[in-house]
Symmetry: C2
Subunit: 332 residues, 2 copies
């Protein structure tokens, strides 16, 4: 890393943003995996993860931030490796007991995971902002990389379905397992949201901005959509490297592929390039899509071909080296 | 039981009040024990428990109703027999995980108990009133006796302490283990609270009203203090039987004895009689206090002497027979 004004450890606090270094725009599982690689190849104290909160929800009165928790649990080495979310070794006494009442159990909150939501809700109720609380939670898990929600304001993805009209994101994503036909996506609250304190400055001064291999429609678009963020990222376009979440025409996880198609995008690395070309100079695509590299470049982005599927820490680390420019680049 | 208009089972629903039968004014553990006896000797569908909510609290954003839960868990046979509150066989994963964040763990919420608070908070958030939600919870536990909060409105006991001024009830009761000097007790919200729907009618038509052996200051006084309740109970004074929570000058559980003394009451069955004589015709006292029966009567109440300490279901049942007038009464 060059050009960053790296803070000394004593300067660094969770919840405060850096004035240099690496900034990653993040959704959930895919972003969390890449971040585990990034912290292995670049000092975590010189990094910031900016996380989507448009899929946050209030359940049972508790403020649940799925993407923030996935990023934090994963970086803490505490995530459930089977699912990519939730805590390893979790117990489910509360959910089982909730069944007695016919309560909402389709969104599974483990007993230990509940503590995170209890704490977050308590602190928000005290008047703390989400960025501060997120910093406290990340610190409690021993994270050195800073984690912030993209905004302290409430933004919520709403999904318009053919059969049921507009529904909440988690209703779509978890309850219906994204197995419905979508005709539209909007993010309520986005136009009046403010970027997290210091976020615009961090983007302005970052030596590298990474768009993680997250869902472009429901994870990255809300992050870029907070007023000021897209412009700040676009102003640094040459320093921005996006990783395609689409490999061989399909999403590795979740509904990105289906959503892209239903909303009129080409479901390929070329479709991803068209979504990101205004904000990112370079798209990292998987070797499986090497033959599409010319089309990516024709659409206006530089293209890096590498192995992007992260099945373990080694692959995450190798991909991190690529996105940080520490590995050889090459056109296919 | 005579004179009650007993509903048939099909008429009866949790959350709806009876138009006859036995009404018990209840706090937590002591009341719950007596109720286990009452449902053994009188049809539970002909009974209503009216429960204090002035020690309800919001923790981590969750609405916690300690007395309601103690009554319901106890009647369901699910209460922790060691403590008299909480669930038997409980696990504590959420509280242990909350320690990581330095969250509030002095008020222990077990994993399965949490489900009750999650459900209650969810339903209140949907706009349901506390009486309706309480009925749903009681029904889920299979209770036939109707359980209602004394009011759907928010009432909260505040404790004035010598050292720290006014504090919340649970701060006093749980966090400080009521080990502080109290100079005053008030119930915020009481003057504008309304009795639970149907409560006044239930009191008016009850064949027997029982004041459970609960704390007169912080459990029964808030129940009687909801506007209209004291008057409705006093109007039925001849049908009202109170059980003294003070035995041999001490409370069996909790701070009733210390509170009575600090607030200027005599800490004895005679002190209890002076608190209840305007609303209840009869006070049931323990054999240990038999020598004070004349003083109780001199203070204006009939006095029944019996074994009032309930260490198990047999003793609760025997006491229930006495308060229902199904056992011989006698002066000491």
């Amino acid at each position: 890393m060059t050009g960053g004004t790296n803070p000394t450890p004593s300067d660094h606090q969770q919840g405060t943003l850096l004035t240099g270094g690496v900034v990653t725009l993040a959704g959930g599982v895919g972003a969390a995996k890449l971040l585990t690689g990034l912290v292995r190849v670049h000092p975590p104290r010189d990094q910031l993860a900016v996380v989507n909160t448009a899929d946050d929800t209030v359940l049972h009165g508790l403020h649940v931030s799925p993407d923030l928790d996935t990023v934090i649990y994963t970086l803490a080495g505490a995530v459930n490796p089977e699912t990519g979310w939730g805590l390893a070794g979790e117990t489910w006494q509360a959910m089982e007991a909730l069944d007695r009442y016919g309560g909402i159990t389709w969104f599974r909150l483990g007993d230990r995971d509940l503590a995170t939501h209890l704490y977050r809700t308590h602190r928000l109720g005290q008047g703390a902002d989400l960025a501060s609380v997120t910093g406290e939670i990340a610190t409690a898990w021993g994270l050195e990389l800073a984690v912030v929600p993209v905004t302290n304001d409430t933004i919520r993805t709403r999904i318009t379905t053919v059969d049921e009209g507009e529904i909440d994101f988690q209703d779509y994503f978890v309850r219906r397992r994204h197995n419905v036909t979508v005709t539209g996506v909007r993010v309520a609250g986005l136009e009046s949201a403010h970027p997290a304190p210091g976020l615009i400055e961090a983007l302005t001064r970052a030596t590298r901005i990474i768009i993680a291999p997250s869902n472009p429609i429901v994870s990255i678009a809300p992050v870029l959509g907070v007023p000021g963020v897209r412009e700040a990222v676009a102003a640094r376009r040459e320093a921005v490297m996006a990783v395609s979440p689409i490999v061989n025409g399909a999403a590795l996880k979740g509904p990105a592929d289906r959503l892209m198609l239903e909303l009129g995008h080409e479901c390929s690395v070329v479709g991803v390039a068209r979504l990101y070309r205004d904000v990112a100079a370079t798209l990292v695509i998987d070797e499986a899509d090497a033959h599409l590299a010319p089309d990516v470049e024709a659409s206006g982005m530089n293209c890096v071909v590498t192995h992007t599927v992260m099945n373990g820490p080694e692959e995450a680390t190798a991909l991190a080296r690529v996105v940080l420019g520490q590995a050889g680049r090459g056109r296919a």
